[in-house]
């Protein structure tokens, strides 16, 4: 039973660590399916974590914080759109630039406003999204197998966690069952087809990146005021890139995206868990190996040993009608 408890603990950790990845990867999904590569997910996440923490601190309301996080993230999206859609700039360069702006600006403003080394003040109470206990937890506690899973993995998460898992089928539905989704998928494959169908390529792509901003707003908020109780300088710590890797791994499809993110979350949880413990047959593995593991694994995944990933055809290429 000992082992089972450990598993439950790791799964609980997996869920918590996967949430920002899921939101972010879904954000990337909308953007990239529309043909706009978004390496700036990292920056958007960071900026929105900062905004969420600041707004939540000022208003004392986590929901206001969420709005703030989403708002700032969308502003970043629109800048990315302005560079890569309106001005047909290089999407990767634009994303890299915005990552720097986000990293620098959050630290500068955070330090200037709060003088805590770029941190924002500690939040508590309603300024944070706190864990929710689902009904029936007490009754379930004694049920074998399912009980601990329900109590420790499914229950006891904050509302954003549930929203993340809701966002997955919702994204699928939007993408495959709505007019917007049809057009969005089309514009990432052949913007000319969309244009000659009388639909504005630019506006469509703008809407896609705005949706990406919206979803990144959720992930940033999760980082800033749900998972932790304050914004900390550079707190996204490469999660945006991992989300991007998950997106590629999932071949730009919503449901596989969720599983890819859960996998990376699981790796991270496992790394935390295995720290300082001996691996049978190998002995104690340096923490650095576990820390580098998601990145190493991403490279192996990217190497296509698990089937080549085909990005949207028009991805990364600005739509230029007139030379």
């Amino acid at each position: 039973m000992e082992n089972f408890d450990m598993l439950v603990s790791i799964l609980g950790s997996t869920v918590r660590l996967s949430i920002p990845l899921i939101f972010t990867a879904l954000a990337g999904l909308f953007s990239e399916r529309a043909g706009i590569f978004d390496i700036g997910l990292e920056g958007k996440m960071l900026a929105s974590a900062f905004a969420a923490a600041v707004v939540a601190y000022l208003t004392g309301s986590a929901w206001a914080g969420l709005l703030g996080g989403i708002g700032v993230s969308i502003v970043f999206s629109i800048i990315h759109g302005f560079a890569s859609i309106t001005n047909r700039g290089n999407q990767i360069i634009s994303g890299v630039a915005l990552n720097f702006v986000a990293a620098g600006l959050t630290a500068v403003l955070g330090q200037a406003w709060y003088g805590q080394g770029g941190r924002t003040p500690q939040l508590s109470g309603d300024a944070r999204f706190s864990p929710i206990t689902l009904p029936g937890v007490d009754a379930m506690r004694e049920v074998p197998i399912i009980g601990p899973l329900y109590v420790n993995v499914i229950s006891g998460n904050n509302i954003l966690t549930y929203l993340a898992f809701l966002a997955v089928p919702l994204s699928w539905w939007v993408l495959y069952r709505t007019r917007f989704g049809l057009r969005l998928r089309a514009v990432g494959e052949n913007p000319g087809a969309v244009d000659t169908a009388g639909i504005s390529v630019e506006w469509l792509r703008y809407r896609a990146v705005i949706v990406a901003g919206l979803l990144c707003g959720f992930s940033g908020t999760y980082l800033g005021i749900a998972q932790s109780a304050a914004f900390i300088k550079d707190m996204s710590a490469g999660k945006g890139y991992i989300a991007l890797a998950a997106l590629i791994f999932a071949k730009w499809k919503p449901v596989p995206v969720m599983f890819a993110c859960l996998l990376f979350g699981f790796l991270d949880a496992l790394a935390n868990f295995m720290q300082g413990k001996a691996v049978p047959g190998i002995g104690e593995v340096p923490v650095q190996i576990f820390q580098a593991l998601p990145y190493i694994l991403t490279c192996i995944l990217l190497a296509g040993f698990i089937g080549a990933a085909k990005p949207p055809k028009a991805g990364g290429v600005p739509y230029v009608k007139e030379r």
């Binding site: 805590q116 941190r119 710590a237 923490v287």
Partner: protein
């Protein structure tokens, strides 16, 4: 000449509720008492320290106090360039005549909070979350383990480190996740020596209704009822003394090591944790203190041999 003291913080930021804030408090206290203003600087990256220290020295500030081991090599260099300026480094040793090196016997303070942890634990399992995996942090951990074992020889002690780069001081998410893991494994007292990351550990402990132990500054007020105590390291005292000694012309170079005896390290007791510390616990701590001072208890210093004796 007018005294112009200067203070360079570690990278966690001035108001880190911990190490740097303690330094700032010491300087403020000096300022309030003497009316002498001081300048301070918060480097936000490792590369900045050297320039800040040199800048202060070259502009005639004296003494220049740098807290954090991160400025060791910077201090070595700059102190050589400005032999007439007095320097103080906290948490590290720089062997120069015009440098005072202040180190703490963190293992002793950690022993005492470990003792409290061992006594407070109901599960017989306690844990430690360290920031960056460096000998200094291992030193904390080692003392803690020894103390916990003194309270309960059968106790299990887990430990995790947030990371191995400077970013480890600033990653409360991972610290919180590690804490949660430890709680899931049964730990009910978590000692966090992890700079700003520690806030995540304390938060998680509070969210899960477990005890935590803060570090450097008195962090008992962060989550009253959950923070069992804090291993206070009197960085404030080090800074205050440095300023004061210079003012009074009593500045001396060399190494100062502050332990329990010098009241450099101690568990914080205040109103916030009054309810958590039983009389029995208080007595045990007092006794251990006396024994350490008397040399009856030897707390192992990890850094002497890079090893922590088990059991």
């Amino acid at each position: 000449a007018d005294l112009q003291p200067a203070l360079v913080y570690g990278t966690g930021g001035k108001f880190d509720k911990s190490f740097n804030e303690a330094a700032a408090n010491g300087a403020e206290k000096f300022s309030k008492e003497t009316g002498i203003k001081f300048r301070d600087f918060e480097p936000t990256s490792d590369t900045q320290g050297e320039q800040a220290i040199r800048n202060f020295a070259s502009r005639g500030y004296n003494p220049v106090v740098a807290v954090s081991f991160a400025w060791t090599s910077a201090m070595e260099k700059v102190a050589g360039e400005f032999p007439d300026t007095k320097f103080v480094i906290v948490d590290s040793v720089v062997d120069k005549p015009n440098v005072r090196s202040v180190t703490f016997k963190e293992e002793e303070g950690s022993y005492l909070v470990g003792l409290l942890a061992g006594m407070a634990s109901k599960s017989g399992k306690v844990s430690f979350v360290g920031g960056m995996d460096i000998p200094l942090i291992r030193k904390f951990e080692c003392g803690y383990e020894q103390g916990a074992r003194a309270a309960n020889p059968k106790i299990e002690v887990f430990q995790n480190m947030v990371g191995t780069t400077g970013a480890a001081w600033n990653d409360p998410v991972r610290a919180g996740e590690l804490t949660k893991n430890q709680i899931d494994q049964g730990s009910d007292v978590i000692y966090a020596a992890a700079g700003a990351s520690g806030l995540g550990a304390l938060q998680t402990a509070a969210d899960n209704k477990k005890f935590s132990i803060g570090v450097d500054s008195n962090q008992n007020h962060l989550h009253p009822g959950s923070v069992l105590t804090s291993m206070v390291k009197r960085v404030d005292l080090a800074v205050y003394n440095a300023f004061m000694d210079t003012k009074n012309g009593k500045f001396t170079g060399g190494i100062q090591t502050l332990g329990v005896k010098e009241e450099g390290v101690m568990p914080a007791m205040d109103d916030n944790n009054k309810a958590l510390i039983t009389a029995e616990m208080k007595a045990a701590v007092d006794k251990a203190k006396a024994d350490i001072i008397a040399g009856k208890i030897k707390v192992h210093d990890y850094m002497t041999d890079n090893a922590c004796p088990k059991g």
